[in-house]
């Protein structure tokens, strides 16, 4: 469980290492590749509702919660959700790690 999902201010020489901040758009696109666009919309709406964020923009913290809710669908949707979770955690932890350098 990621306790602090607010990425710290990155040092001036911080690198992204090809990892941009994960977004809802990225997540829904990945989901659509697995289940098709129409089913992806339905899955995503269910996951947002289950995570307590049915509408509105998603912070990284909220995106994480939606990913956790999405994983409950199991199967290939859970595989997609796990990937999203790893990318979110890696993004935040990389920022934290570079603050230590």
């Amino acid at each position: 469980m990621l306790l602090d999902l607010a990425p710290p201010a990155a040092p001036p020489d911080a690198k992204s290492y090809a990892l941009a901040e994960p977004t809802e758009h990225d997540a829904r696109a990945a989901l659509a590749e697995v289940v098709g666009a129409a089913d992806a919309d339905a899955c995503w709406a269910r996951a947002r509702a289950a995570a307590g964020h049915p509408t509105g923009p998603l912070s990284l913290d909220a995106l994480w919660r939606v990913a956790q809710a999405l994983a409950a669908d199991g199967g290939m949707i859970a595989v997609t959700a796990r990937s999203l979770g790893i990318r979110i955690r890696s993004f935040v932890l990389l920022q934290q790690r570079q603050c230590q350098s």
Binding site: Y17, L19, D26, R48, M76, A78, R82, L84, I86, S90
Partner: protein, 192 residues
């Protein structure tokens, strides 16, 4: 904090989906049948680590490498089903984005992937495991299901450059066989 009067599902406007950056990865990683095999073999289950940790430890000791992993390689990320010797922040993430994965090369080629010095391996590119954690050498062999899907890799890593022998690769292949036998036994799927 969002205050919602209702948490019932809401119809969201459909979005157009230009491909995300990670789709620059080979199509093999995105193969639905391969991703389906990951799901059907329950490779993301946290409990799988109980079955695999001893094998990971043995691989590290046999090859005298500080880091050893069983990695499940998905389309956008890799998940560590079992691990030893990882930097704390990488262990906490439970995997890495696919852009940082060494193991993906073993998966897409279907062959062992050996790196003597990651600083001069063009297929690695800019990578925090190399630049921040000083990973230099890597040896990984594919994990293949009985029906032929390459779902990940078992690998070892070190912070010093290293040349790997045929015996080293054979040891990793033997470990990969044991990993898949354990995975299939747990998932209730027929072993090879």
């Amino acid at each position: 904090m969002i205050a919602a009067a209702s948490t019932a599902p809401v119809s969201l406007p459909p979005m157009s989906f230009p491909a995300p950056a990670a789709s620059a990865q080979p199509a093999a990683l995105r193969d639905p049948a391969r991703l389906g095999a990951i799901a059907s073999h329950d490779l993301l289950a946290p409990q799988l680590a109980d079955s695999l940790q001893t094998l990971v430890d043995r691989a590290a000791e046999r090859l005298r490498m500080p880091i050893a992993l069983v990695s499940v390689v998905m389309a956008e990320a890799q998940h560590f089903a079992a691990a030893r010797g990882l930097p704390d922040w990488v262990a906490e993430a439970g995997g890495t984005p696919i852009e940082w994965s060494f193991c993906r090369h073993a998966v897409t080629s279907g062959e062992p992937f050996l790196v003597e010095d990651a600083r001069v391996e063009p297929r690695i590119g800019e990578n925090p495991l190399v630049e921040l954690e000083h990973v230099r050498s890597y040896a990984g062999v594919p994990l293949v299901t009985p029906d032929g899907h390459t779902v990940g890799a078992v690998c070892v890593l070190d912070t010093t450059p290293r040349t790997f022998s045929d015996d080293d690769v054979a040891a990793l292949r033997a470990c990969a066989g044991e990993v898949m036998a354990a995975v299939c036994a747990r998932a209730g799927t027929p072993a090879a």
